[in-house]
């Protein structure tokens, strides 16, 4: 009995959420429609001529506010989708925050497998403002994974001001937010591309596909059974063959192949390495070769 009720409640909950979603879509569609826009703009000058109740006025202002908000949001989405690197302002809720809690946020969009992933954020503040009036930025919070060398990039492109005691050369360097943002984004995108290449390699080599395993094990000692990233940056891959050979593939930043070592039972197996690479210069070439071989 209780389970029935629970089911019913769950059903209703899902219905509610889907209805809310629909409502959201319809609201935004309606409010951005040119005709709505027209009505709203026409109404404002006309309001003086025709006397309106207070309620109507309120409704009107609410509607035009919402329309403006929606328009701003649409524009933001457009920039986010096309530029993939956008900024926004935020506030630090900490009452003791520096610079009255003003935060500049960088939003880095990542696209992988034809989808927008959860963006990465870098939030910057200006902690030196009160001390010496310097408007230099500093990374306050971020959501980048540990494999993005954010600290190093920040030290290069957003150097802190020199300490007041010694007028060293360190403080003379200018901060360059644009280059910093570009560098961070480049690293993020490279990282995701490397992740994508590993996934493609696995797919092309048929790793994780169980269908061929039963009958193909003996005939194909050359079959690849495992390809995984061996480090956090996904620059090194572990490759395992069905006959127990293992290999280590080292990629560069952009997926170019730096080195491949295959170890068999009798030491290094250069033939297998050549067979796998076949003159490929980047990991994508290997994907293509594997895909062509499997067809």
């Amino acid at each position: 009995m209780s389970s029935n009720l629970d089911d019913e409640i769950e059903d209703l909950q899902t219905k509610i959420s889907s209805l809310k979603k629909q409502l959201r879509i319809h609201t935004s569609t309606l409010i951005t429609a040119p005709s709505t826009r027209q009505l709203l703009t026409k109404d404002t000058p006309a309001s003086s001529s025709a006397p309106k109740t207070k309620h109507q006025q309120q409704q009107n202002s609410l509607l035009s506010d919402s329309a403006d908000q929606q328009e701003a949001h649409t524009q933001e989405c457009l920039y986010r989708a096309c530029a993939t690197l956008t900024t926004f302002r935020a506030r630090d809720p900490d009452p003791c925050a520096v610079d009255a809690g003003a935060i500049l946020g960088l939003r880095i969009e990542v696209i992988s497998r034809a989808r927008f992933l959860r963006p990465y954020y870098v939030l910057l503040n200006r902690p030196y403002l009160s001390a010496d009036g310097s408007r230099r930025l500093r990374v306050h919070r971020h959501t980048l994974p540990a494999c993005i060398p954010l600290a190093g990039l920040a030290a290069r492109y957003l150097p802190p001001p020199a300490p007041a005691t010694k007028e060293g050369s360190g403080g003379k360097k200018k901060q360059d937010l644009a280059r910093f943002a570009r560098a961070v984004r480049r690293d993020v995108v490279r990282y995701h591309n490397r992740l994508g290449v590993v996934a493609d390699l696995r797919k092309a080599a048929g790793v994780g596909r169980d269908t061929g395993a039963e009958f193909g094990e003996e005939e194909q000692p050359n079959r690849l059974v495992n390809i995984t990233a061996a480090d956090s940056e996904v620059k090194q891959l572990t490759i395992e063959w069905a006959d127990g050979r293992t290999g280590r593939l080292v990629m560069g930043n952009d997926g170019e192949i730096v080195k491949l070592v295959v170890l068999g039972e009798n030491g290094r197996d250069r033939e297998a390495a050549r067979g796998l690479l076949g003159g490929a210069a980047t990991a994508e070439d290997v994907v293509k070769r594997l895909a062509a071989a499997s067809v």
Partner: protein, 519 residues
């Protein structure tokens, strides 16, 4: 088995057997529960582990030259040896199914099936099982692995500097690491190393068991019973895809954590005055770890930097120092890091759950769409007012307190999330009535106060030390905010735990570092 003990620099082999009557062995085994004991025994009997954990079988009788052998077990043996590992496996499975005492299983293991000795590998497995059963049994401190600048002078005399502009992420290769660690750490002390991946968390745990003897034979294990104790076990955990490592603290010594290691300059050789023997071992290990992680061939040297996070909770460590997005986005900032996994609490209208392709703005429009609880991007709405109605003042205040708590803590600091730190030490170094230093506390948090004075400035700076203590400190503070005891809007940021430190000093209302926080 060799009869002669020769000092060697090799590590202790996993197959080395320890007499089951050895106090350490019994201690390791007897602290496991019955079900864990049986599952560990079944793990030992697993095909992969069997070579390292051979049980005493009927065929094998007499194959070992242990001194246990001179006792005759054949007749009247309470635990007759089994014929094969398969039979034993069945036996333990049947033990699992039926009820009984722990003693029965323990006796069966020590006096029956492994009477000829438990290998170090088995003990390591049992010890790790205990760690999984009691995840809070170890106190971990997190260290960051940071690259060093290549030395400039050829003699290598000046102390190495931290290379803060380096873009290389330190990499970690388990077997290479072990080999170099063995060569760097304690040449006259033998250690047994065992790697294991954590069952639920993305961690690789290395258990180091240290034996104070230059020999790696069974005889050494027998004679050095005094130094053969559990406090010589050190765990190192490597989180996946993160340049950090977690080092367990020796539990036997009462360690008073130094108050603000974050304020000291990074010390590449953290070899302070050792207090006890276990501590000195710990320090030696700490000194050896950076060398083991370095890569001399590529001229890459690293050092370990303490990160002021000490806790018993591994899940918290993984969240704050792991490979995910939550490393530098704690507290209210976690809305930015939230992966959008539907954690009912903050899943609606939260920042950037939407992709740029989602043009719907319903929840944020003031058209009565969506619910009253809304959060604008970036905290404009962080002080968002709930949809007012004809509620009581108290009810509205309670709701507001809840909203404020959510804005300040985001998705963190929830009682049931299992990511709690159990102790936070904070020193407040602000001037008295400086306008920023405030003390909030109460409820289940103990507040201790020590007065000292250092009149360097004209203002009076009382030295106030706060210690929060509990099972989940920041969840407790969040509850206090939610119930309106702490004013969530005036609460300083370090009380939300967003810094991810458990030890720190507060200056100008901000923890750790003079200019706000961050990297």
């Amino acid at each position: 088995m060799t009869r002669i003990s020769v000092p060697t620099t090799a590590r202790l082999p996993s197959t080395l057997r320890v007499d089951p009557t050895n106090p350490t062995a019994t201690k390791i085994l007897s602290r496991l529960s019955r079900s864990s004991l049986i599952s560990v025994a079944l793990d030992w009997l697993d095909e992969n582990n069997l070579p390292l954990a051979l049980p005493y079988l009927r065929e094998n009788r007499g194959g070992y030259e242990d001194e246990d052998e001179d006792e005759d077990h054949d007749t009247g043996d309470f635990h007759p040896p089994a014929r094969s590992p398969e039979a034993l496996r069945e036996l333990y499975t049947s033990l699992q199914a039926r009820k009984g005492s722990k003693r029965e299983v323990l006796d069966r293991i020590t006096e029956g099936d492994w009477r000829h000795g438990l290998t170090l590998y088995q003990l390591a497995m049992a010890d790790l099982q205990y760690l999984y059963d009691h995840p809070t049994s170890q106190k971990w401190s997190a260290y960051r692995i940071t690259p060093l600048k290549p030395p400039r002078d050829p003699d290598g005399e000046e102390p190495p500097e931290v290379d803060d502009k380096s873009l290389t992420i330190p990499r970690f290769h388990p077997s290479t690491f072990l080999r170099t660690l063995q060569s760097h750490v304690l040449p006259d002390v033998k250690a047994h190393y065992n790697f294991d991946t954590h069952k639920t968390l993305p961690l690789l745990i290395l258990r180091i068991f240290i034996l104070d003897s230059p020999y790696n034979t069974e005889h050494a294990l027998k004679t050095t019973t005094t130094t053969f104790n559990a406090s010589r076990t050190i765990y190192i955990a490597f989180p996946d895809a993160s340049p950090h490592l977690f080092l367990s603290k020796p539990t036997t010594t009462t360690t008073t954590p130094s108050l603000n290691p974050s304020l000291n300059p990074p010390n590449p050789n953290p070899n302070n005055t050792p207090l006890g023997e276990t501590k000195s071992l710990h320090h030696l290990l700490l000194a050896g770890l950076p060398q083991a992680l370095s890569n001399p061939l590529q001229r890459r040297r690293v050092t370990l930097q303490p990160t002021s996070l000490v806790t018993r909770n591994l899940a918290e460590l993984v969240a704050r120092r792991g490979g995910g997005r939550t490393n530098a986005a704690g507290g209210g900032w976690s809305v930015y890091a939230d992966e959008g996994g539907g954690d009912g609490k903050g899943g609606k209208g939260v920042v950037g759950r939407e992709t740029p392709l989602d043009l719907g703005l319903g929840a944020r429009l003031g058209l009565g769409v969506g619910d009253g609880e809304r959060e604008g991007e970036g905290g404009g709405g962080k002080r968002g007012v709930g949809g007012g109605g004809g509620e009581d003042v108290e009810e509205r205040a309670a709701k507001r307190a809840r909203l404020v708590a959510r804005a300040r803590f985001g998705g963190t600091g929830l009682v049931g999330d299992g990511k709690g730190v159990e102790r936070v030490d904070v020193v407040v170094e602000d001037a008295f009535l400086g306008g920023e230093a405030r003390r909030d506390g109460g409820g289940d948090d103990q507040v201790m106060e020590g007065n000292g004075e250092d009149g360097e400035d004209e203002e009076w700076r009382p030295r106030v030390k706060l210690t929060f203590h509990g099972s989940h400190v920041f969840a407790g503070i969040r509850q206090l905010v939610e119930s309106g005891i702490i004013d969530g809007e005036r609460m300083p940021g370090w009380m939300t735990g967003e810094e991810g430190v458990t030890v720190g000093a507060v200056r100008h209302g901000r923890i750790r570092g003079h200019k706000g926080s961050g990297l």
